[in-house]
């Protein structure tokens, strides 16, 4: 169904402009629409295959992740056994095309998986997702050889990769990165420091964005590289101890005269910024769906507890103040999920999705934070205690408003699209 919709929307609107976002004055009447096309225009249903994928991810999360999540949160150990099992079940490298050994799933199917995995533990989900994040630039811009080599090995064995863009002095301001790559002989030599790199301590290879032309504008002076993690000159920092998602591995990575062969350049020299940004069109809906997964977990935990816990002679779900909190959690979760699905569907339909992806990211991350907060509130004193599942959700949720573009940056992206959509008279 989705692919059919995707085709029809492509054929009806061949241009990749933003015009599809603009308000449509005509076809406002339901009667006209039904005469024009008997088939439904909108579907919120999943295909059998998507249903199967969702069932698998749900079952995996509930049997393999939920029981061990608290333990990994406390020990902060990297969840290798879970990663290996996920690889075996085919739940990693989801958007790697079939040609390179992956299932080549569409973004909506990937989003179904990341929501379910995140329901189990967003620390583990982030470790799994960061692999996809690193692969995205390779899928978007890599040469055939590069894809075969670096994507192929990921599908063959359980390896992880890392996406290296953020620096100590430049996160949101990607244009401000200082890592340099200069040409020496035929090769490139990288120097600089990357910060908060997910999976850095365990990665087999890195995607690295570096400045290759200091005189050019940042958007055209950067280049993306695939860098083997065992290259001489790569120094890993200690594991950073963060508030939440504690089993996810984040570190500083220093590149000191790291030699990268010319064939490891992604796309054309100078295209790095665009490639790194394009990868976000794929990964933002997935990070957003993970936030929905966390929000869903908070909702379920809160609703269950509210039926068991009694005060003043009745289960607290019968106190209106609590009931309304639960209702708000449900509303927000459903709204966020629908926006995430739309952002994923837009990408699958071949339409520009940056606008929706940023909206989904903003709403879903806020929902995760609010639901986690409300879940702690519903649990009362128990919510503040580490023996109960919700304080972890509270700590884990915050990162969703920070990584893959802060909520402020998302609003910048959205607002700039707005100005282009509705120009001043």
């Amino acid at each position: 169904m989705l692919s059919r919709l995707a085709r029809s929307s492509r054929s009806s609107r061949p241009s990749r402009s933003l015009s599809h976002l603009a308000r449509q004055a005509k076809r406002a009447f339901a009667s006209e629409a039904s005469e024009a096309d008997a088939s439904p225009q909108v579907s919120f249903g999943l295909s059998d295959e998507q249903q199967g994928i969702q069932d698998l991810a749900r079952r995996f999360a509930r049997t393999e992740i939920v029981p061990v999540a608290a333990e990994y949160d406390q020990s902060m150990a990297y969840p290798w056994p879970v990663i290996r099992k996920a690889h075996e079940a085919g739940l990693l490298n989801l958007h790697v095309p079939e040609k390179y050994g992956g299932p080549g799933l569409g973004l909506l199917s990937c989003a179904l998986v990341s929501e379910e995995i995140a329901y189990g533990c967003t620390g583990i989900q982030t470790a799994m997702e960061a692999i996809g994040l690193a692969e995205a630039p390779v899928i978007v811009a890599g040469s055939e050889e590069l894809k075969m080599k670096y994507l192929g090995r990921m599908t063959e064995e359980p390896l992880v990769a890392a996406y290296g863009v953020t620096e100590p002095g430049a996160g949101s301001d990607v244009a401000g990165i200082r890592t340099t790559a200069r040409k020496e002989g035929g090769s490139w030599v990288l120097n600089g420091t990357k910060m908060w790199i997910t999976n850095a301590g365990h990665a087999n290879w890195f995607f690295v964005l570096a400045r290759t032309d200091s005189s050019a504008k940042p958007t055209s002076g950067m280049t993306g590289f695939v860098v083997d993690a065992d290259s001489p000159g790569i120094h890993l920092g200690k594991k950073e101890i963060n508030m939440g998602q504690r089993c996810s591995d984040t570190r500083m990575v220093t590149f000191e005269n790291v030699v990268v062969p010319p064939e490891n350049v992604l796309g054309r020299e100078g295209d790095g910024f665009k490639i790194a940004m394009k990868a976000f069109d794929i990964t933002r809906p997935l990070v957003s769906s993970a936030a929905v997964g966390l929000a869903q977990r908070a909702l379920e935990e809160a609703v269950r507890y509210a039926q068991e816990r009694r005060t003043m002679g009745k289960p607290i779900i019968e106190h209106q103040a609590v009931a309304f909190m639960l209702a708000d959690m449900a509303i927000q979760t459903e709204a966020a999920r629908n926006l995430v699905w739309k952002s994923a569907w837009t990408k699958d339909a071949g339409l520009p999705n940056t606008f929706y992806a940023s909206m989904a990211k903003t709403l879903a991350s806020r929902t995760a934070v609010e639901n986690a907060n409300l879940a702690v509130q519903v649990f009362g004193g128990a919510g503040f205690n580490t023996e109960y599942p919700v304080e972890k959700l509270y700590r884990d949720a915050k990162i969703f408003e920070l990584y893959e573009g802060t909520s402020q940056i998302q609003r910048l992206v959205i607002s700039r699209t707005l100005a282009a959509l509705y120009p001043a008279a």
Binding site: D48, G52, I53, D55, L56, E88, A89, G90, P103
Partner: protein
């Protein structure tokens, strides 16, 4: 059921689409049944049956000629067949019945016999010991009765000797375990301890949609599925009366004695 040459085994695995075991069941307002507009999945015992068929092939390799999954139910039951295919079945048969039809175990057994006549012969039929919705626990036995072949119910271990044409089955019985040897063709029903079903992995889910799925109707098979039993009413179980908390063990024992539920107490 005509046996195939001794060296090749064909396995049939009937599966049923049931309300998911994790769903909290509710009786409908008309008291004619339970709410079915909820998540469904494969009957857990049938998952064990599919798993056992797939494991048999892993053990016996080429001696297993094929594994066919079959389901009887409305069009949505196809999802369940796709799951079985993703777990490792080779092909599937869907006997489509109307959405609202109640198909009793006897009708299921007759349909299965008809499917075996049409698609068979099969040497081994592995079913779940019961479906978690109607809790009948009858289909396997009825099928064996109709076919006049051996049956081994509540299996917790299954060994097949293809050459000898026999299967050794360990059965879960009240007092412990019982080992029996049955001649193939035979019916085996799976108990919980037989195995732990695998995930249908993502690549296999995707491959499953390319595997053959044949659709039949009860009329094609010449089977009348009209229920023999008339269901009068479905109701919720009586609500449990709220318990109470006691302060200490002595009080607990005193209350239990008073209720006459403590062994030895009057």
């Amino acid at each position: 059921m005509r046996p195939t040459p001794r060296s090749l085994l064909r396995i049939l695995v009937p599966v049923k689409r049931c309300v998911d075991y994790a769903v909290k069941i509710r009786v409908n307002a008309q008291q004619t049944g339970v709410e079915t507009n909820v998540k469904h999945s494969m009957n857990p015992f049938d998952e064990i049956a599919v798993e056992e068929a797939v494991r048999l092939r892993e053990r016996l390799k080429d001696a297993v000629k094929g594994i066919t999954a079959v389901t009887i139910g409305p069009s949505k039951a196809q999802e369940t067949l796709r799951t079985a295919l993703a777990m490792g079945a080779d092909d599937a048969v869907h006997v489509e019945t109307p959405e609202a039809a109640i198909v009793e175990p006897l009708a299921v057994a007759k349909l299965l016999r008809a499917v075996m006549d049409k698609k068979g012969p099969y040497d081994l039929v592995i079913l779940g010991k019961q479906a978690i919705d109607d809790d009948a626990g009858q289909t396997g036995q009825m099928l064996a009765g109709l076919l006049g072949c051996a049956q081994a119910t509540f299996a917790s271990k299954l060994d097949v000797d293809v050459g000898a044409g026999t299967a050794d089955v360990t059965r879960e019985i009240d007092g412990g375990l019982e080992q029996v040897r049955v001649k193939l063709p035979a019916i085996v029903t799976a108990d919980l301890r037989l195995n732990e079903p695998r995930y249908a992995s993502l690549p296999n889910i995707m491959k499953a949609k390319k595997k053959p799925l044949e659709k039949l109707k009860p009329e094609d098979l010449g089977v009348d599925i009209t229920p023999r039993l008339q269901m009068l009413k479905v109701t919720e179980p009586p609500k449990r009366v709220g318990g109470q908390k006691v302060d200490n063990v002595d009080e607990l024992i005193a209350k239990l004695k008073k209720a006459g539920v403590l062994p030895g107490a009057a």
